[in-house]
């Protein structure tokens, strides 16, 4: 079996495990390439009909292309789409002057509110180990307490496709079916599957986005890549990190860890 098929089969296994073990599961969809790949895999795992809701944490600061893509494919793929916004923080005027505070309010706290409202005990997320050193430490099934804290000093063991697949009281489990994929794997899969993605990843006027989120906190890279083949070719040449355009990753060396300890994705 080739590598991409192996990754796909493993991810489908994990998604089905999550669906079997959790009564109230949801998938987080940021509309970026990774969570769209996860969504694609969920459609495959359940033969086209995803049996749980798809949750978009909307900071209100996303690119307009992201909203358009979300609405188009939510309709096309018959998704049960839920949109969660921290309206209170937005009314109070929260904006991105402090990355840590803004990400925490508009992403993490919006997610907390959604979990409290819908009672989710399992959440599927499209994070990958190669994105960031702290994410490299993650488990496939990763518990969070009611404060959302990630106890990275005492993570449960995981071996032979056996996971901590049941949440204790007042906790939820995050499931990461793409943890073992790399950025290049994602694009090779996008190519193989002829998967749709937001056009922001394609170069316009000599710039493209390699990682997308809020418009205010993403910087494009110099690029001429338009096709998926060109994007893959560019990745093979670059020595720059994937999330270098993401402001919240680099305020100081440990911002990502602090954000994640507070419950950030």
């Amino acid at each position: 079996m080739d590598k991409i098929s192996e990754l796909e089969n493993q991810s489908i296994y994990l998604i089905r495990e999550a669906n079997y073990h959790f009564r109230n599961l949801a998938m987080l969809w940021s509309i970026g390439k990774d969570s769209t790949t996860l969504l694609w895999l969920c459609r495959k795992a359940f033969f086209g009909k995803i049996p749980f809701p798809v949750l978009h944490i909307d900071t209100s600061y996303k690119f307009k292309e992201i909203y358009a893509f979300r609405d188009e494919y939510a309709a096309k793929w018959g998704l049960e789409l839920l949109v969660a916004r921290n309206e209170e923080a937005l009314r109070a005027g929260m904006s991105h002057e402090s990355k840590l505070e803004c990400c925490n309010a508009l992403k993490t706290n919006a997610l907390k509110q959604a979990i409290a409202k819908y009672g989710f005990d399992g959440l599927l997320l499209g994070i990958r180990r190669d994105e960031h050193g702290v994410r490299a430490k993650e488990r496939y099934f990763s518990p969070r307490d009611e404060q959302f804290k990630w106890n990275y000093e005492d993570q449960p063991p995981e071996l032979w496709d056996q996971y901590k697949s049941r949440a204790d009281e007042d906790t939820h489990i995050r499931i990461h079916p793409l943890l073992h994929w790399t950025e290049k794997d994602i694009w090779q899969y996008v190519k193989r599957e002829n998967m749709p993605f937001v056009d922001l990843y394609r170069a316009q006027d000599g710039k493209r986005y390699r990682s997308i989120g809020c418009e205010c906190c993403c910087a494009p890279i110099d690029s001429t890549a338009w096709t998926v083949d060109e994007i893959i070719e560019e990745l093979e040449m670059t020595s720059a990190g994937e999330r270098e355009g993401r402001a919240q990753d680099k305020e100081d060396a440990n911002t990502m860890q602090k954000l994640r300890a507070l419950g950030y994705m």
Binding site: K3, Y13, E17, K44, K137, L159, Q162, S165, T182, A240
Partner: protein, 409 residues
């Protein structure tokens, strides 16, 4: 485009024998570190300009950097000319053994590090033993910190002999022993000029000689049912094939019920298949008098799975709260989950000294290993780990927590 080979290996060994430094050196010397990451590394390396802290490449948690230890396992990627690698970093401290096991259980090869200056430690023995229990059969021993012993051939020969003696009891398909100094990069990616007496492979050359995992198609079919979905009014049993091959029209035996059925179709979202191999996640429709549910296994009728009420396994314990004789505990094997009672705990062993503590024990403590007999009313489908690994490895659960692992001999 020809498909590139890929291989996952874990880096193990005792505390401070240089695992994180070796991995950092690997990534640096193969040009795998992004420029921005190097900049951050220089920033956190406390101002020492010419000496980047290689250990910080994977030790990403603030606590790890402040205390110069690895707490949890991490994975990273790099490529040689030959193939793509996934490096799994594993912590060396005894209290983080469950993290080491998490890392090692996903690897098909291992680098075992030994500080030649400090010599063999309990954790060296423990990690070597755990690798053998977990079924990692390809091993590269790196005798590290040769710079601290003036690159002496005599010291190398002496320590290499000790490692051979330790590993003599362990089943291995491949073994290399390499003198190296990760800090200065000697014999890691680049050949060292300081050990002219050594003409064997560098670490990266030795890695390229390892064999990637291959799917053994000759094994009998084992398809553990993961779930059953209703698609267009018909029941579809989904699961990932653990071993062998299934084809449309095949007769299968459903274990433990022993009922036969016929594979009417093999389904994926992309369309039906004529056959599918180990590793593939599929859905199958089976005609016959059998109701499928999670925990059942579809098997080759010529080699059906045995069902036993009494199962003996080599168990390693991963919880501060010991396993006790007479305890009720849940066993998970593939997709089965079965309540069991611990009947006996034999040959309780200290995994650090590899000495037997008690031949007939009342309990099994954290990091210890024993032959545990488990009894269940419903029976467990299993077979020898050496025959079909996927059906010969299990975990023990208390509530929602995995507290032990085991191998069916």
């Amino acid at each position: 485009m020809t498909e590139r080979e890929h291989l996952k290996f874990v880096v193990v060994g005792s505390v401070d024998h240089g695992k994180s430094t070796l991995i950092g050196r690997f990534l640096y010397d193969t040009g795998s570190l992004p420029e921005a990451q190097l900049a951050v590394l220089r920033q956190v390396s406390a101002g020492t300009d010419e000496q980047v802290e290689f250990a910080f490449v994977l030790d990403h948690l603030e606590e790890e950097r402040a205390n110069h230890i690895t707490i949890d396992t991490a994975q990273t990627f790099f490529s040689s000319d030959r193939r793509d690698y996934v490096i799994i970093d594993a912590p060396g401290h005894k209290e983080f053994l469950k993290n080491m096991i998490t890392g090692a259980s996903q690897a098909s090869a291992a680098l075992l590090l030994l500080d030649v200056h400090e010599g063999l430690q309990d954790q060296t023995r423990r990690h070597a033993y755990m690798l053998s229990l977990l079924g990692v059969r390809q091993l590269i021993v790196v005798l590290n910190k040769m710079d601290l012993v003036d690159f002496s051939e005599e010291v190398f020969t002496d320590k290499a002999a000790q490692m051979h003696e330790l590993l003599g009891k362990v089943t291995l398909d491949h073994l290399a022993v390499i003198p190296a100094a990760a800090l200065g990069g000697d014999n890691i990616v680049n050949r060292s000029g300081k050990m002219p007496w050594y003409d064997g492979p560098t670490v990266i050359e030795a890695l390229d000689l390892l064999k990637p995992d291959v799917t053994d198609e000759s094994l009998p079919l084992r398809l553990p049912v993961q779930d059953v979905y209703e698609i267009d009014g018909r029941n579809l049993a989904v699961g990932r094939i653990a071993a062998g091959k299934v084809s449309k029209g095949d007769t299968v035996v459903v274990c433990p019920k022993g009922v036969e059925g016929k594979v009417a179709s093999i389904e994926t979202f992309d369309g039906p298949l004529d056959s599918a191999l180990a590793g593939e996640s599929v859905g199958v429709m089976v005609d016959g008098e059998v109701e499928l549910s999670r925990g059942l296994t579809l098997t080759d009728p010529r080699a059906a799975l045995g069902t036993t009420e009494k199962l003996m396994a080599s168990v390693f314990w991963m919880s501060p709260d010991p396993l006790k004789r007479g305890e009720r505990i849940a066993l998970r094997l593939a997709t089965q989950e079965v309540p069991c009672v611990v009947e006996s705990i034999a040959n309780r062993m200290d995994s650090g000294s590899l000495e037997i503590i008690d031949e007939d024990a009342d309990q099994l403590a954290d990091t210890e290993v024993a032959e545990v007999t488990l009894v269940s009313d419903d029976g467990v489908n299993s077979e020898s780990f050496s025959h079909v690994p996927e059906m010969g490895r299990l975990v023990l659960m208390r509530g929602s927590d995995i507290v032990g692992g085991g191998i069916v001999p």
